[in-house]
Amino acid sequence: MEKYTVEDLKNIKAQDEHLLTPDKDKKEYRILVCNGTGCTSSKSPLILKKFEEEIEKRGLTNVQVVKTGCFGLCALGPIVIVYPEGAFYSEFNIDNVERVIDEHIVGGNVCKDLLYGETIDGDNVKPFADTTFYGKQKRVVLRDCGVINPEKISEYILRDGYTALARCITNMKPEEVIDAIKDSGLRGRGGAGFPTFRKWEMVRAAVGDQKYVACNADEGDPGAFMDRSVLEGNPHCIIEAMAIAGYAVGANKGYVYIRAEYPIAVKRLQIAIEQAKEHGLLGDNILGTNFSFDLEIRLGAGAFVCGEETALMNSIAGLRGEPNVKPPFPANKGIFGCPTSLNNVETYANIPQIILNGADWFKSMGTEKSPGTKVFAVTGKINHVGLVEVPMGTTLREIIYDICGGIPNNKKFKAAQTGGPSGGCIPEEYLDLPIDFDTLSSIGCMMGSGGLIVMDETTCMVDMAKFFLEFTVDESCGKCVPCRIGNKRMLEILTKFTQGKATEEDIEKLDELAHFIGDASLCGLGKCAPNPVLSTLKSFRNEYENHIKGICDAKVCKALKKYQINKDVCKGCSSCARSCPVGCISGEIKSPFEIDSTKCIKCGTCFDKCKFGAIEII
């Protein structure tokens, strides 16, 4: 296989760039089919295959069918986009493949009734970039996701792929690369916002013959999936960025630690590494220079604590993923005891573009202390569930209401949770706070990896705090006492609240314990575990107090609620009785039914089934 030189990269781009911008007059089309995890679950690979088969059957030339990563608007998947029009087909049904080919590709007329509603503007088709979901976004990290085929290195090169690496290793000294990152003000996107250049500088200065760079792709926060989407949509940018980091810090080997739960991302990264090796973009003498760099994938095995840097490095070495006491810091003693620079996927995804476009460009986005953009995975009670990339400093209100279309069924916003089980909830009063690393920590939250879970009035905040604590108790590695035992005790107290057995005193106990655990735990997992409790105690203390009185405002806590049938509304249709999984509803057809509350498991099936709204929760 041919090894690329810097000239080759330029030539490939010059020769084939037109592929990305098909020309309608020449009957050129580019059909993008999302094959991210979300759309794959709704069978998008079959849609892709069918397009390929039908295009071949019809002998159409000049039509590319491209497998891509995530477009971001996961709630409306599977998604197919056809260029040059940029026609955005949402909730695409495989039975419509032939119709789109006949009418749109062959006939030249977009199938308007299949488009995402917002892209239709009277008789015209609006570019999807102008819709409310995409219009306010600024895609830097996700620039190539859903644009290129992640399994073809050539497509990444058409988007200037590997030119940043070429520039670094042919034109810049390692110190200059670090300076470029320093000037940009890039901060680690994994959670705490530590300046990226500082890690690199420390590893560069560390003593040792063997140094490593590593990528943290152990995206453990439930509800966060931006790293997965980057790896699935554009794995080559991570390879390029890690090679740049390797050059800057003086490492010739990198490790990507990735969750085994992300099979598609692992596979695409493997393919990308193979391709990069074939073309001499990884391995010895990259692009004909003296710089050599190799990359290896290490799989996680389902342990949240492995997102912590020292635990991650133990896991890479095949050990139990328990964290170590710091110092020594990984910059001096990391993987296999060697100096290691560890960065997160999203951080890496920014690097090539900072090198190409310069620090000033990067600083033109975001806030003064947190430049650049941030990707949020917006989930929960929200209309447009999906991935959203916005400049730092965007307010929650813009993200939730303008971009993501607000809360379904006109329910009232209650809180948004950032930072997953280590973060806190943001109540309504902060909806207009510009979000960046510092503003979030000033209100007792943290950016975390960027999961943003929206909760409405039907979410019980005590139950939510309990949910997160169950998670941390389950995931605590058990090494240090405050985390192992303290969190367990805290969970027991919270369980008392949800069962209506708590007393006034328990609120004080919770608060006290939370502070102890936060102060005394060994690693970030334990230190941050009390955050969901502390932040809900601060913003939703009244809910805790009501639980003591036996009231769950959101009617979530099972022990505090009861289902009953309103006899005046019930039509006696028996639909509830037929759907009840435990058979606790009985009655005569056409007369009111009754629920046997001693047998009821409070699953809510009858509530969902009843067409007349006769089932009440009290």
Binding site: G220, P222, G302, I316, L319, T379, G420, F471, S579, P581
Partner: protein, 164 residues
């Protein structure tokens, strides 16, 4: 005390051979224990005592170290799973959309208890997943490699029927 089956059974020759091949394929990789355990579990289905002991002998690592690693990580299991493995996602996005109710209903339907999450005929086993990354389709359940999105308790009978 954690359960660990397979203490008394002798490992079949073909299984030994296959595991040897897996270990051999990692001979150039530094400290590959976790990668090997993944591959062995993919092949054998779970990691009982006798499999762990065999890996320990072959790799010359103390069995206690292997047991320590196997029991540390949630993805490794020392117990057999059902023919159809049902995972209910209890990640945050699914949880706020009531996936706990799906878990409870499945447990009830399949008559499972906390001690035994496999049906007597070994047809189904139930566990919870942290996040399968299909948050856009919440709440999600996964049966083997099939993902079902926007599931309600009422849909469960129809879904399970496909695997009967």
């Amino acid at each position: 005390m954690l359960k660990c089956s397979g203490k008394c059974e002798v490992l079949a020759e073909d299984a030994k051979q296959k595991i040897r091949e897996i270990i051999e394929s990692f001979k150039d990789v530094k400290d590959p224990l976790i990668e090997i355990l993944h591959k062995v579990q993919d092949y054998y289905g779970f990691l009982p005592y006798n499999v762990q002991a065999f890996i320990a002998d072959e790799m010359n690592i103390p069995l206690s170290d292997i047991y320590g690693v196997v029991t540390f990580y949630a993805r490794f299991t020392t117990e057999p799973v059902g023919k159809n493995r049902i995972s209910v996602c209890l990640g945050t996005a699914c949880y706020v959309k009531s996936s706990q109710a799906l878990y409870d209903a499945l447990k009830q339907k399949l008559k499972l208890t906390d001690d035994c999450m496999v049906t007597p005929d070994k047809k189904f086993s139930l566990d919870s997943a942290r996040c399968v990354g299909a948050c856009g389709l919440a709440p999600v359940i996964m049966i083997n490699n099939d993902v079902y999105g926007k599931v309600t308790p009422a849909m469960l009978d129809d879904i399970l029927a496909k695997y009967e």
